[in-house]
Structures are given as C-alpha cells and as structure tokens.
C-alpha cells in the first residue's frame, strides 16, 4: 500500500503528531490570543494540504478546492445549529433538517462524506481536462459553488451571514483535525495511487505507457482533497461561529494558494513551511495595518497591507525558489536518503509464451498529411525486429500507434485473437507491451527506484511489484542508482532506466525508440548484450527504432524499412541491404548503380555476427 521506506513514514508521521501537539502546548502557555492564532493557522494548514493532495500530486493548480471548504462549512453548520435558531433564521428549511441538531464530530464526518460525494461528481466531470483547461475549470467550480450558496437562500441564508454556529472548535479540535489531514496527505503521497499520480504529473504519456490510468488516480486524489477541505471548512465554521459565502471565495483561495506555492506544492513539508511563513507574515502585517509607533515615529494606518505583503512574498518566492521553499522532497527524504538496493536481486521472470503481434494496414493521417500509409508487419516473440528509415519516414508514428499512444486512422493491431486497435495506452501495457521513447520520458523528480516501481505496480495487477522492479534495475545495471532522482542521471543512464522501467512491466514485447541515442560505443555494446539477453533468456520480442545502423545490423533478426510513411522493404539485414528501394531511399536515385558498395555506415565485415 505504501511505497516509500518505513523509516520515512515513521519519521514523517511522528513529526506531524509531535509538531501539532507541541505547537498547541506552546500556544496554550501563551494565552487565548495565541491559541486563537494557532487554531486559525492549523485550520489553514488543513486547507493547504487539502489543496496539496490534489494540486501537488497531479500538478494541476486548483483554484476550486475552497468551494469544498464552503460545502463542508455549510453542511456541518446546518447540522450543529441549534433547532430554535434554525427555525427563527431559516424558516424554509425542510423539517427533518430543521429538527436535526448534533455534535461537531458527527456533523463533520457527515459534511466530509457529503463533500466527498460532490467531489466525486465534479471530479468525474472535469478530471479529463489537461493543463490550463483543468485549472480554469476549477476556477469555474469555485464560482459556481459560490453562486449556488448565494442563490439557495432557504438553506444558506444566501449572501447574508450564516450565524449562531456553536463555537466548538478549540485548539485541540484543530490539532486533531490537522493530524488527520497531514497523516492522510502524507500517506496518500506515497501510496500506490499517489505515486502513480505523481508519475502522471511528471510525464503523462510515459505514465500511460506503463499502465497508469491517470484520470482514475486524479479522481481519487480529487475526492480525498475535497474531503480534507470539508474538514477544514467544518472546523473553521465552528471556530468563527458566523461566516458568509465571501469567506470561501477568492480571498481565502488566494491565501491558501499563497501558502502552498510559497512552501512548495508537492510536499507536506512545503505545505507546513508555507503555512507557517504566510501566517507569521500576515500576523505581523495585520498589526501594522492599524498603524504603530516605533521610537516616537508614528506610522499611519494602511489598510490592505496584508494582501500586498502576501503578494510580495509570492513574487520573492517565485524568483528565488520557483518550486517553493521546501523544494520537491520531503524533509525525511532528504535526511534519510534511501539505501541502494542489495545485490541479491531476484531474476527476471520469463515472458509468457505469446502469440505474434500483427499489424495490418496501419495508416495515420494528421489532417492532410499521411504520416504512415498502409503498413503491415508482424512481430514474433523472441525476435528483434529493427524498424529503420530516414528522418520523418513515420517510424515513431508507427510505434505510437502500436503502443496505443496514437489512435490509427485506419488499420488493425491484433495479438492472437485479441484486438488491440485503439485501446487506450494504459491498457496496452497490460497486454504485455511496454516501450521507451525517442526523447526520454522519465519521471525526472521521482527516484530511479520509484520510476521503475510505479511501472511494476501498474501492470500485471501489481503482483510482486517490488521484486520485478529490483530485477529490472539489476538487469539493466542501474540498481546502484536506485536512490537518485531520475532527472539527475547522465543521458545513457536515463536511457537504461527507461528500458528498466519498461521491463518492470514484465512485457512480452518491448518497443524501443532509439535506445542507443546519446550512448558511446562501449555503452551501446553493453546495451546490445543486455537486449540479446532479454530475447534469448526471457523470450521477449523487441521492436527497435534506431539510426545506429551498426547496432541495427548486429542486433536485429529482421528489418523493416519505412520511407515517406510506406513500408518499402522487409527481411533479414542482408536482404534489406541489397534492396534497391532501400538504397534509393537512403542515398537518392543517382546512387543506384554503385549499390554494391553503398551501405550507409554499413559494416559488411560484421555480417556473420547477425545471428543473435
């Protein structure tokens, strides 16, 4: 369930509990004013980590989660408001609601459940949007919920203040709430769903290719975040005793987002850092707002100082540390770097015997441009098929169609009796097809281990994921790098990690898009040995695109040659090298006469080695 080392979790959770309790103890020594500031701070912190559960893990900035805070506040307040007052101030409430009066705890739990349900519906609707469209849709959510609260006068008193709510949130209630929220957020971050979502945040296409259903993971985090916001809203409502829809609108969204952005979106450490800094600064500025005298100099009262101050802090933070003050790692991840994996890595399991992958009549049109035209080919288990052709001949497009990244305009892909045509990328992985990308698509801010593990967790039902991940790391010789951030590796290492990640999916077929690009000769040779081992020992079939013809010639059993989107030749490397169409495609029509000696970078002397 939890994918990070146990020491991290123990350290994080005990720090959360100790920190929350310690803060409250100190505050209660300082008197009621300090207690109240700390209570507000703790409630804000719940809100910040609430937004962070979604925005931090998915990478989609949400302006809308304060709406869930509003729903939590109104629902819980409607449940705790004394019946007498409800009848006096909300005469049109349905009777069952008017006569319901309960304590803060059950009301909060119900409010979280109701909000979770709303979040589920909203999340299902907007979860498929990407990038700025997703962010703008959350803004719409905020505005719509605000409008509904104002319009639904019979239940919410509209734009008027909702008052008389029992003021039951004390500092210890807030401590309990913040522990629940922080523990939930911390556990989620390193849960399987959280890790998958973070992988999706880092690179959506690669995440899909290793079997991650990003919209589903997004929805999970959206609902969890909504429920956490509802907790914050319920506690805030019962702290203030009175509020209006304005309390849950742009001002507070701005404040909470400021905390999240200044501290760093993607970690709990960041959320806490941001909340502490912004709270300290606002408390200081709010006191300056009504004017003060320093050494006899009277400063005038300037109302609005607080907002200006927060704006400046955001600017400063963005200039100095765009990822937030806490960066991308939790404090415990920095303090206790994970140990490199032991040497006793389990062996890679053999690929299940599988039927060939057959593509027929594959065609891809981008508007008027035909990138791939009527290409048919078959990939046998245990063979290495090289796909070559000049730049722009359609190799990567063909690979993308075969792996579900692109939907073919025409044509079918089948594996035995299973039709794989047009199924989404994340499901292709479960049919034993894994791939790498021409321009490396790792999850740069995750560790090498996490990169590989998340692939193992998301394929084959996640069975024995840790073992598969370790085996794949060992197979490619990158086990020693397991604790490094993938984005910090050398180019060649990144290529190897990408192959290891694909292997962790336990594929029967592996698509490699220029696996040797950027490697030196020794690295390429080592890679060749590894790939041969995969086919020979594990029975994995490989479809490889590369421009390194030496590699292609030595490694591939068969070659397929594309030119201008059409398949112009297919056969053993020797056959293909003699093919006039291939020579023409590579060198132009004028060279046809001297074909015997023209093999682009060809190395005829090595022909006998083509056995592998």
């Amino acid at each position: 369930m939890i994918t990070s080392p146990r020491t991290h979790m123990l350290a994080a959770l005990s720090a959360i509990i100790a920190g929350a309790v310690g803060t409250a103890v100190i505050a209660s020594f300082l008197g009621p004013a300090a207690e109240r500031i700390v209570t507000v701070f703790l409630i804000s912190l719940i809100g910040v980590v609430g937004i962070g559960i979604y925005s931090g893990n998915s990478g989609i900035l949400s302006f809308g989660h304060v709406a869930f805070m509003a729903i939590g506040a109104y629902v819980s307040a409607l449940l705790t408001l004394p019946t007498q007052l409800k009848i006096a101030t909300l005469p049109h409430l349905p009777e069952w609601l008017a006569t319901t009066e309960m304590g803060l705890l059950p009301a909060t739990v119900i409010a979280m459940a109701v909000t979770g349900l709303v979040a589920l519906l909203v999340g299902a609707a907007i979860g498929r949007l990407e990038g700025s469209a997703a962010t703008i849709s959350t803004l719409g959510l905020l505005i719509i919920v605000h409008g509904v609260i104002i319009g639904w006068r019979d239940v919410t008193r509209g734009a008027q203040s909702f008052f008389g709510v029992p003021r039951e949130t004390g500092i210890w209630t807030a401590v309990a709430g913040v522990i629940v929220a922080l523990v939930l957020a911390r556990l989620y971050r390193d849960s399987i769903s959280g890790l998958r979502l973070r992988a999706g945040r880092e690179n959506a296409i690669a995440a899909s290719a290793v079997g991650i259903n990003i919209p589903r993971e997004r929805l999970i985090s959206f609902v969890l975040a909504g429920m956490t916001m509802a907790l914050a809203g319920a506690l805030l409502a019962h702290f203030l005793g009175a509020f209006s829809p304005k309390k849950f609108y742009f001002n507070d969204t701005f404040l909470l987002l400021a905390m999240l952005i200044v501290g760093g979106m993607s970690t709990i450490t960041g959320a806490v850092t941001g909340a502490v800094i912004i709270t300290l600064v606002t408390e200081v500025l709010r006191r300056l707002e009504s004017g003060l005298s320093i050494g006899g100099i009277e400063l005038p009262a300037v109302f609005g100082t607080t907002q200006i101050g927060i704006g400046l802090i955001i600017l400063l933070a963005m200039f100095r540390k765009p990822e937030g003050l806490a960066g991308l790692k939790e404090w415990e991840e920095r303090l206790f770097p994970p140990a490199a994996a032991g040497n006793a890595a389990p062996a890679m399991p053999k690929a299940h015997a599988s039927t060939p992958l057959v593509a027929k009549g594959m065609t891809m049109r981008f508007g008027g441009l035909v990138a791939v035209s009527n290409v048919s080919l078959a990939l046998q288990p245990g063979e290495i098929l090289g796909l070559i052709g000049p730049n722009g001949s359609g190799k990567t497009t063909l690979l993308n169609m075969l792996s579900g990244v692109l939907q073919p305009s025409e044509g079918t892909v089948t594996q035995g009796s299973v039709d794989l045509t047009g199924i989404p990328s994340h499901k292709v992985a479960d049919h034993g097809i894994a791939r790498t990308f021409q321009n490396i698509r790792l999850f740069p801010d995750l560790t090498v281990h996490q990169n590989v593990l998340v692939a193992a967790l998301s394929t084959r039902g996640g069975a024995e994921a840790e073992e598969r991940a370790q085996a794949a790391l060992a197979e490619l010789g990158v086990a020693a790098l397991a604790g490094e951030n993938a984005g910090n590796l050398s180019y060649g290492d990144q290529r190897r990690v990408e192959i290891a990640r694909a292997l962790a999916c336990q594929p029967t077929l592996l698509f490699l898009d220029e696996p040797a690009a950027g490697m030196n000769r020794e690295e390429t040779d080592a890679l060749m040995e590894t790939l041969r081992g995969l086919t020979r020992n594990l029975g994995i079939g490989i479809l490889m695109v590369d421009h390194d013809l030496a590699l292609i010639n030595q490694l591939c059993d068969r070659l397929a040659v594309l030119n201008e989107g059409k398949l112009i030749a297919q056969g053993t490397p020797a056959e293909v090298r003699q093919d006039p169409a291939v020579i023409e495609a590579y060198l132009g029509p004028g060279k046809l006469s001297s074909k015997k000696n023209t093999k682009p970078q060809g190395q005829p002397g090595r022909k006998p080695e083509l056995a592998g």
């Binding site: 008027q160 008052f163 008389g164 009262a301 109302f303």
Partner: protein, 385 residues
Amino acid sequence: MKALLLSSTLAAAIAAAPALSETLRVGVATAQTGALAYADVPVSGGMRLAADEINAKGGIGGDVKIELVEKDVRSDAAQTSIATQELADDGVSVIVLPCDSDPALAAIGVISSAQIPAISTCASSPTLPMIGGDYMFSNFPGDNVQATVSAKWAWDEGHRNAYIIYSPDTQYTTMPLYFAEVFEKLGGTIAGQATNTIGQQDFSAIATKVAALDPQPDVIMTSAYEPDFPSLLKALRAAGVTGQIIGSDGIDSPTTFSLGDVAEGVVFTTAGHATPGSPLEVFNSAYEAANGAPPETIFSAVGYDLIKVLEAAVLAADGSVEPSALRDAIAGLENVQGATSLITYKGTDGMPVRQVSLIRVADGERELVGQPSPDASLIPAPRMQ
C-alpha cells in the same frame, strides 16, 4: 536610601495612576474597506471628533479618557468575528460593530460569551438586537421605523399605488417589505415587487417590468444603495418610469446629490437634518473646524452620536468602564442628546428610539421634508426576512 525612597514613591505613583483616572477603551471593529466603508469610514471620523472633544475636557466626567482601538473588518462577517474576538481578548469595555446587521451578527457569539456590550455603527435592521441578545445594541432608526415614516408620508401625499424593489441579500435591503406592510395597512395597494442581488449593476429588466405596469405605480420604494441605487434609478427613469422614488438612509451620500436630473425629487429617510440652530449644525461646524471640510454624509454625525451614548452610559454607571455595568447603563439611557437626535434605549430591546428625517433631493441639494414622529401602532414587528 534617598534614591530608593524616590524610586519607590515613583513606583507607587505609577501604580496608583490607573486607579485615579480610568480609560474607556472602545474596540472599533468596523469596515474601513469593502462594501460598507461608505458608511463606516465617515462614522469613524465622527467618533474620533467626539472622543477628541471629550478627551480635551479631561475625559468623560472630567476623568475617564476615551481610547479607540480600531480594526478593519473589510465588510466581512468572518473577519468581524475574528476582530471582535481579538478586541475582547484585549480587554476593551465596549465594542463597535459594522454598519450592516450581517457582519454585526457574526460577533454575537463573541460578545455574549465575553459579556461585552456592542453597538453597531448604523445597522438599522431591528432584528439585530432582537437576535443579538442583551449585549447587542444598534445606533440608528430601525428599518421598520424608517419604512413607517416613508409609507405614511407617501400615503399623506395622496399616493395609493406602490411598487417595491428589494434584495434578499441582506436584512437592510429588505426594508421595502416593511414599507409594503405599512402601506397596505394604511389602505394602499402594492402593485408588485421585484428582487435584485446586491451588486447587480444591470437593472434594465426590472425597469422594463415596472414601465409596463398599467396603471403606473405612484411610488417606487427601494432600499438599494451604492453602487446599485444609481444604476437602478437611471434604468427606471430611462424606461420612462415617472413615479415618486422613495429610498432609505443608505443613499444619504454625496453620490445621490451628484446624480443630476435623474435624482431630482427622490425622497429618502435618514437619521437627521441640520436645521438652523440644531445640534447637527453645531456638529457640522465643529467637524469642519477639525477636518477642514464639512462632513460628506450623515454617518459622521451618527458616529459622534455613538460616542455621546457611551459618554452618557459611563456617567450613568458612575464612571465605571466595567462591561456589564456599561451594558446595563446603555439599556437604561433616555434622551441622550446626540448630533442628529435625542436617543433613547430605555424600554427597547436595543434598537434605539431616534428621530427620522425625510429628505428630498431638490436642485442637487438636501431639502427637509419633515421630521415626523411615527405612529407606534403602524410600526411593523421586527422579523427576519
């Protein structure tokens, strides 16, 4: 030895000082920014003038100085609750709340548990002290009283057919519902009603609806205020509606008098009018002397009234600034002379009995229509709208 003697005498003098002259610390949690600033900012000006005048004479009764502890609540309910709590923690004797009953209601929980009396600067909803309990007071003629005065005037002018435009967004903007009640009680007809939201800006739909009425209403009553009122007024006149427009104290601002022809003849109720020799005229001159310009609205004088009420309460409590003693003293005040009116709390639930002035916009200037005393039997009972 001598030094020790001197310093201990000094220490004793310092320790004894607060006992000799007490300070009335007034917590002011009002809207210096936001939608209610149009009223609360001038109120603060009037409060400061009154406090300065009293302090210049040595304080209330010559020895209790007034200290204003001000916080901006940004016209927001939640912020009012927080600021009020801070003031209560700070140990103030009395708390001044924003001009609208909504944010003022947000402070109920705090003031009742801290048992500190609170006065809203100019909230006129009679439900505020009703719901707010023993510690909540207002400082303005109630909505129901204002509506009674304007409805009676309309009736006496011979108007028989009225139309009301109100917003359910706040208690204050539902004043036309009280107007309708009184007008019907007098025998008039309500031709119809329309609702708007605060900050709506476009009133053409409502204006078209009113213009289509046959017969045209004699009177259109609304308690919309800036920025809604000017747009509403322009839309009605542009649509060809010529009936008498009646407003309320919310439009007692320079904007209304600067609208030109469109506002000509508009009648509204407010807290006072500076007739020659009146206390309000005296206040206006004092204000001009202190600030270099006369007050822009009646709300400055209302702020002055508020401090005069507190002064009277401290005197009635024999110089005590203890919150519960002050509460009891305020509740028993009778005929306190403020800048706008005589003010009585005795016998009310916290909504003071004050004079209501009817003002007409004539040639862009204020013209006093009358300062009638409303008939108690006509005044509707306060209720949440």
